[in-house]
């Protein structure tokens, strides 16, 4: 141990003699490690942002869309059928593992407040819908059962609507806005959610009670027909089982024969998450490939310089052998030099990578996450590169014949 420590000291001294050369040799490793850390930090930041977007959809959400209908050979697409009903949803709520069942219908309409107006999505929903989709009230409260039962003309405003219909600082609570020339009282505003995974503004929306829309604004083909149903499962593990059960119950309720297709579609959020995970997996693999190549190039640089160094210092190696160095002492000396070079390069690279990631978030505003794991892995890997690429030159040095080495000019 003592010997190893002294060898490390000697290696530092040797490398300090050729500062410029050592710095240039380390450059490959510095750039490789730095780039990997900066890229991984930015990648992790982006991944976390996407995950936050997915979470903004609500947790463990199962979406049920009315399916397509075939009329004289023409298929209508999603929502063409009006077969999904409130009664279906109330039945689905009884499935074990389901905590909430909500529903809604949407339409695009003009909303007016005093001299301002805005074209937006009117989302007519049941109170549980807001819970399932993880909306939070900034002011006021969600619809009450009474408001639902009486088809009250009340409205909740999304953040984008608030900005477009009201002056900054103006209190929207209790204000009247008009939808289809019908006055609605603002009973609450909602916390902003930002953009969804497809880039749509989730806050560009107003919510009204489902019953109000059905009876007074949108009309309906038959009472209780809904645009979409939403369930939330207790835990992610239960989702697959709940989805199966939903399918079974709905097929039964819609009296579908075994040879008939579903007249509804069940989507679950895990599928979306899986796609995202796949994307970040392939991103990780790409990063790994880039990292390996840059470390490989850096390692070859170290090997190259060490081979030059072994040739230059042939006489020194001979002297060391003459005064009693064993082959393993020489091997260790050059190996330590390689590792010191690569580990120092790795350390500087870690510093630069962290600085680069900070710069990316400060200047470009990208979200970045710097994890200690990746710093340790990158540093450890650079040290391993030193061992791997130092082995050949070090072995070459240790195999020199002392007599010839002493005579080398």
């Amino acid at each position: 141990m003592n010997f190893l420590l002294m060898t490390v000291v000697v290696a530092f001294r040797v490398l300090a003699r050729n500062r410029m050369r050592s710095a240039l040799t380390m450059l490959g490793i510095i750039i490789g490690v730095g780039a990997v850390i900066a890229m991984v930090s930015i990648g992790e930041g982006a991944k976390a942002a996407v995950q936050a977007q997915i979470a903004s959809f609500g947790t463990n959400v199962i979406t049920i869309l009315p399916g397509s209908m075939t009329l004289s050979g023409v298929r209508t697409g999603h929502g063409g059928a009006v077969t999904l009903t409130i009664a279906d949803m109330e039945e689905l709520k009884k499935i074990p593992g389901v905590t909430y069942a909500g529903w809604g219908r949407r339409d695009a309409m003009q909303v007016v407040h005093e001299n301002k107006n805005w074209f937006t999505t009117i989302n007519a929903v049941s109170p549980d819908y807001l819970v399932i989709r993880a909306w939070t009230a900034l002011n006021g409260e969600f619809f009450t059962q009474t408001e639902m039962d009486t088809a009250a003309k009340v409205v909740l405003l999304g953040n984008t609507i608030l900005k477009n219909l009201f002056e900054p600082g103006e209190d929207p609570m209790g204000a009247m806005i008009r939808i289809k020339n019908m006055p609605f009282k603002v009973v609450g505003t909602l916390e902003a959610k930002g953009y969804d995974t497809r880039g749509n503004d989730q806050d560009d929306v107003v919510f009204i009670p489902f019953t109000t829309a059905e009876r007074k604004i949108m009309g309906t083909k038959f009472m209780g027909s809904i645009g979409a149903g939403y369930l939330s499962a207790e835990s992610p593990e239960q989702m697959a089982q709940v989805v199966d059960e939903v399918q079974r119950v709905l097929r039964q309720r819609h009296k579908l024969r075994p040879d008939q297709d579903d007249d509804f579609t069940v989507r679950n959020q895990i599928d979306i998450a899986k796609v995202q995970e796949g994307t970040s997996e392939s991103m990780k693999l790409m990063l790994l490939a880039v990292a390996s190549i840059s470390l490989l190039v850096g390692g070859i640089g170290i090997m190259n310089i060490l081979l030059v160094s072994v040739t230059e210092r042939t006489r020194e190696i001979g002297i060391r052998m003459a005064v009693g160095a064993k082959r393993r002492h020489i091997l260790l000396q050059f190996l330590v030099e390689a590792v010191v070079l690569s580990a120092m390069g790795g350390l500087i690279g870690v510093g630069l990578g962290v600085a680069g990631a900070q710069a990316a978030s400060n200047i470009a505003g990208w979200p970045t996450i710097i994890s200690a794991d990746i710093l340790l892995i990158a540093f450890g890997f650079s040290a391993l590169v030193g061992i791997f690429f130092g082995l050949y030159p070090a072995n070459k040095a240790s195999q020199l014949n002392p007599i010839e080495a002493l005579r080398y000019e």
Binding site: I319, A322, R327, P402
Partner: protein, 241 residues
């Protein structure tokens, strides 16, 4: 007991298709405290003999017994240990490690012995004092004169308290003034009891030694002490046969 006992040393190199016979049966005995000069023209085999005596090389045939140990059959690691503990080298071109201080150069053999750094320093400083260079311990070889560099090399040879100092043309790169100083230093060390084997082709330098061995074509031609008396009859096997 004799320090060095060699019997019928043979060394053959293979150079391409040809076998080169560098040593053709050399037998030699050297006692502790002797000052021996090995002379001969280039190609006489004196360098090969030095390499074998210095445990840098092993003979093709024959035995070499150093302080009672047969070293002609030892492995590389054991030979390295023997070089480290029993032999000190002084070379024609000094062979100091460049851009390294005199003190660190002298410390080098102790470094491979694995003793603590502060002990290395103390011993190395004492060795530099013995050759009169204590005030130059922080100088690099390039900052020292040839004679000073050679004295640093002698200090490095001394520092392990070896049984033999092997000096291979130690004055070959020095002017006559420095040569004299180096030879006086070696003579002084010999008086203090260190065995010295000196390789040279200059009769004047060989004159410092008390015994002169002359080699030619891989055999010992003559072996005389300072008075010109033959030390031993040295007749190669081939001639005897």
């Amino acid at each position: 007991m004799s320090l060095i006992v060699c019997r019928d040393l043979v060394k053959t190199y293979r150079l391409g298709e040809m076998d080169v016979h560098a040593l053709l049966g050399v037998s030699l005995t050297i006692d502790t405290g002797e000052f021996v000069a090995v002379m001969g023209a280039s190609g006489s085999g004196k360098s090969t003999l030095m390499n074998i005596l210095g445990c840098l090389d092993v003979p093709t045939a024959g035995t070499y017994i150093l302080e009672g140990t047969d070293v002609s059959t030892l492995g590389e690691n054991r030979l390295a240990e023997i070089r480290n503990s029993k032999i000190g080298f002084v070379f024609q071109n000094f062979n100091l490690i460049p851009r390294t201080t005199a003190l660190e150069n002298v410390q080098l053999p102790l470094f491979y012995r694995g003793i603590p750094a502060h002990e290395q320093k103390a011993l190395a400083l004492r060795a530099l004092e013995r050759v009169g260079l204590a005030d130059r311990q922080r100088h690099h070889p390039a900052q020292l004169s040839g004679g000073q560099q050679q004295r640093v090399a002698i200090a490095r040879a001394l520092v392990t308290d070896p049984s033999i100092i092997l000096a291979d043309e130690p004055t070959g790169n020095l002017d006559s003034q420095a040569s004299r100083e180096i030879m006086e230093t070696l003579t002084q060390l010999n008086r203090e009891g260190i065995t010295i084997i000196l390789v040279t082709h200059e009769a004047e330098i060989a004159g410092y030694a008390r015994r002169a061995i002359t080699m030619k074509d891989g055999v010992i031609l003559s072996d005389r002490n300072a008075g010109g008396v033959a030390v031993a009859r040295v007749v190669p096997q081939e001639v005897r046969a």
